[in-house]
């Protein structure tokens, strides 16, 4: 039946003209339809479900709303980006902190409607938040980052008033409400599909979204495509300009490029750096390359590997890396260099900022000799198979320079399934590449995940007492607090000196568009179609 419905929808588009779309590449765009190609696959329509992969987060963004959202700013190159410094209303029309800082009270829009026409109430918000902190896995961890940990914190004051009782005052709480996870689900619909085995209706919402967002999902063929259609009754923002967005999954990057260049698609999402470099400046194509906030591509020496216990050996590695070659060959100059910093002490708390290392093989050799490894050693250099587009050239260049200072590295490609376990969970890779980026854009947040012992992205098994203390002290502290900047500077200084993570470059997210506008970069690095215009 769904096919028939879709058929009717297509007739409205003017089925007669459709077969000739190839000769009229722009016709799809003028009809208010945007076709997007991406390489990955959407595996669930519910971000809270365990096993939901990153590309699926876009459904949470386009089909659901949150209490609040971030603003929009224009980047120096003219492209759009979300604005971390501005929090805007979405389902909530206003909010205020309790005088003692122990709670936030949100006033919901009284006119707010779900896609089925029912009102958005505080009950729905509470049910959704209870779900996010209870289902376990990624959503629960992400909520916890904003000090949102247990259902008792969430309180329904009246139909349109919702209160969060805070465990502690934290600058992370409000921004954490604007990430994709705390989306607001139509609890009345979801509760109808609860079973004793499935108290949070994960099986139902997995395939059938129940949100209030700007788009509805009209069709989902897993592994092939997802079709969004505009929600004409959207109450949380201006109704989108485009009628329909078709997201096609095209695994071959060569095919994606051909489709984009020939004009069969309007958006090519997350295009390789090389294509981004070559297609920039082509008539009619717009390539937005936005440096990914709070993210660094790193080379990590693991401290559980004997030679890397010595700070001097880690520094020697940092001095041996051919940074410029890697930036040009692996990143094709897209992104921001993270080497060659002018001083060993940071002048501000910007993060990431260039580390004070550059390529100097003599210095590297001298340091190795001081550490007692004059004749070098052997070490496996591990990379992830599914990220080999940048990891492989990087690893090859690193390997080559390590050989010059006497360290014999052998490259090991690890399949995607094993990569997380080996690098992040077991933390057993002696030397490897790593890509952590924090959603919440604070240096302390990055340090929390990547430099504290035992934390997931600290794949180097690094521990430093001072960093442990300082991170704990700064994590919830407001940025304008007088103690914040000095403490952060001290943390950066230690991280530079001890280099358990050797920064290579800050990556960029490349998105190509043509015959349309309104693409906006988000920290979650997924498609947000709400602003698309044709």
């Amino acid at each position: 039946m769904r096919r028939r419905d879709f058929l009717k929808g297509a007739t409205v588009l003017g089925a007669g003209a459709l077969p000739f779309i190839r000769s009229l590449p722009a016709s799809a765009a003028t009809d208010g339809v945007v076709v997007v190609a991406m390489g990955q696959t959407i595996n669930s329509l519910d971000i809270h479900r365990s096993g939901t992969n990153r590309p699926s987060y876009q459904v949470a963004v386009n089909v659901y709303d949150r209490l609040v959202s971030f603003g929009t700013k224009t980047m120096p190159d003219g492209s759009l980006s979300y604005d971390y410094s501005v929090i805007e209303p979405e389902v909530a029309e206003s909010w205020e902190f309790a005088a003692d800082g122990s709670a936030i009270t949100f006033k919901l829009r009284p006119e707010g409607k779900f896609q089925d026409g029912s009102p958005i109430t505080a009950e729905d918000v509470k049910w959704s938040f209870d779900r996010a902190v209870s289902v376990g896995g990624f959503p629960t961890v992400q909520m916890k980052a904003g000090s949102l940990e247990k259902p008792e914190q969430f309180e329904v004051v009246d139909e349109f008033t919702f209160k969060i009782n805070l465990l502690r005052p934290s600058k992370l709480t409000l921004p954490d409400l604007a990430v994709p996870v705390p989306m607001i689900i139509n609890a009345k619909v979801a509760k109808e599909h609860i079973t004793s085995d499935d108290p949070w209706a994960t099986e139902y919402l997995h395939k059938t979204p129940a949100g209030s967002g700007a788009f509805k999902v009209v069709r989902w063929d897993p592994g092939q495509q997802l079709v969004y259609e505009r929600n004409d009754g959207w109450t949380s923002g201006p109704v989108p300009a485009v009628k329909r967005v078709i997201v096609r999954e095209v695994p071959s990057q060569a095919t994606r490029r051909a489709l984009f260049e020939r004009g069969d698609i309007q958006v090519s999402f997350d295009i390789p750096n090389k294509d981004a470099k070559e297609l920039s400046g082509t008539d009619g194509l717009t390539i937005a390359s936005t440096p990914v906030e709070n993210a660094i591509y790193c080379l990590n020496p693991n401290l559980s590997f004997e030679p890397f216990k010595d700070k001097k050996v880690r520094q020697a590695i940092a001095w041996s890396v051919p940074y410029e070659d890697i930036f040009q060959t692996a990143a094709y100059g897209r992104g921001v260099p993270m080497w060659g910093g002018p001083s060993a002490t940071p002048s501000d708390i910007a993060w990431p900022q260039p580390f004070p290392y550059s390529t100097d093989l003599d210095k590297a050799k001298a340091l190795l000799e001081e550490a007692g490894y004059k004749d070098g050693f052997e070490v496996p250099l591990s990379i992830a198979l599914d990220q080999s587009d940048w990891m492989e050239p990087t690893a090859l260049l690193v390997q080559e320079n390590l050989a010059k200072i006497g360290i014999k590295a052998t490259i090991e490609k690890i399949p995607g399934a094993n990569w997380r376990t080996a690098s992040l969970v077991e933390k057993r890779l002696p030397l490897h590449l790593e890509t952590f980026g924090g959603w919440l854009n604070y240096p302390c947040y990055y340090f929390f995940w990547a430099y504290l012992e035992g934390h997931l992205f600290n794949s180097s098994n690094y521990r430093n007492e001072e960093i442990e203390t300082l991170t704990g002290e700064t994590l919830y502290l407001p940025v304008d607090h007088p103690d914040y900047a000095p403490k952060i500077k001290r943390m950066i200084e230690i991280a530079w000196d001890e280099v358990p993570r050797i920064a290579l470059f800050q990556p960029a997210l490349n998105v190509g568009t043509r015959d349309m506008s309104g693409y906006e970069y988000w920290f979650h690095r997924q498609l947000d179609a709400r602003g698309f215009k044709t």
Binding site: T255, K274, E324, A395, P415
Partner: protein, 294 residues
Amino acid sequence: MSATAPDAPSAKPQRGFLDHALYVLSENPITAIAFALFAVIVLVALLGPVLAPYDPLESNAARALQPPSVDHWFGTDNLGRDVFSRVLIATRLDLLISVTAVALSFMVGATIGSAAGYWGGWIDAVTGRFVDTIMAFPLFVLAMGIVAAMGNTVENIIYATAIINLPFYARVARAEVRIRRNAGFAQAARLSGNTDVQVLAFHIFPNALPPMMVQISLNMGWAILNAAGLSFIGLGVRPPTAEWGIMVAEGANFVVSGEWWLAVFPGLALMTAVFAFNLLGDGLRDIFDPRQRT
């Protein structure tokens, strides 16, 4: 299958064989070309490191992605490595993978198959089920599974390729031996005091070789293609090792952006080698086929 017992004598006079080989070569120019190609490939495999003008592993970001020129006959890749040198060096590894894999599966497969065909009974039943089990997998997927499970090293690629080729040899050997086990020459050999193993190994098996030769020739090329396919999925040999399959797989992404030389030259090398193996098998068949010799 016709049950005609080939009346080939088991002891082969050398002179007649050579004359015959020369005759086949002169009659069949393509086979001659195949032999010549094969000789060139073997030479390149042996002398590759001497012939290569550049270090195949040395990168140079400054000369990345240059089209073919006098300095770099086949251009340079995305890391600035010389494609010509890499294509030359890769010959040895590719030959090693295919020859070893095919030899392994030939030895094991032929043994299993001959035994099953000669003795029948429970040996046939057990090996038959074993072979059926392998064949019930889509072969390439089985190879992927084996390499994914055991890790992507050259040895594992060889084992995986050998395992998926095994059924072909086993089946052909079984069928060919079965036809001949009661043929006149086999019975004669048995009557003159040979043991079963001797009859099988020295009298029946040599006569079963020709059909297996076609299989070997196909499989040699297929073994290389199999390794290339594994590389395309990302389960090939490790970088920075030069290997045709990986080079084609990696270069394939550059074709649309106009850097065709990355994929085309290793692709041509791959194709030439597979081509030579395939034609060679046909030629060998003509030479060894006892019926053509009478």
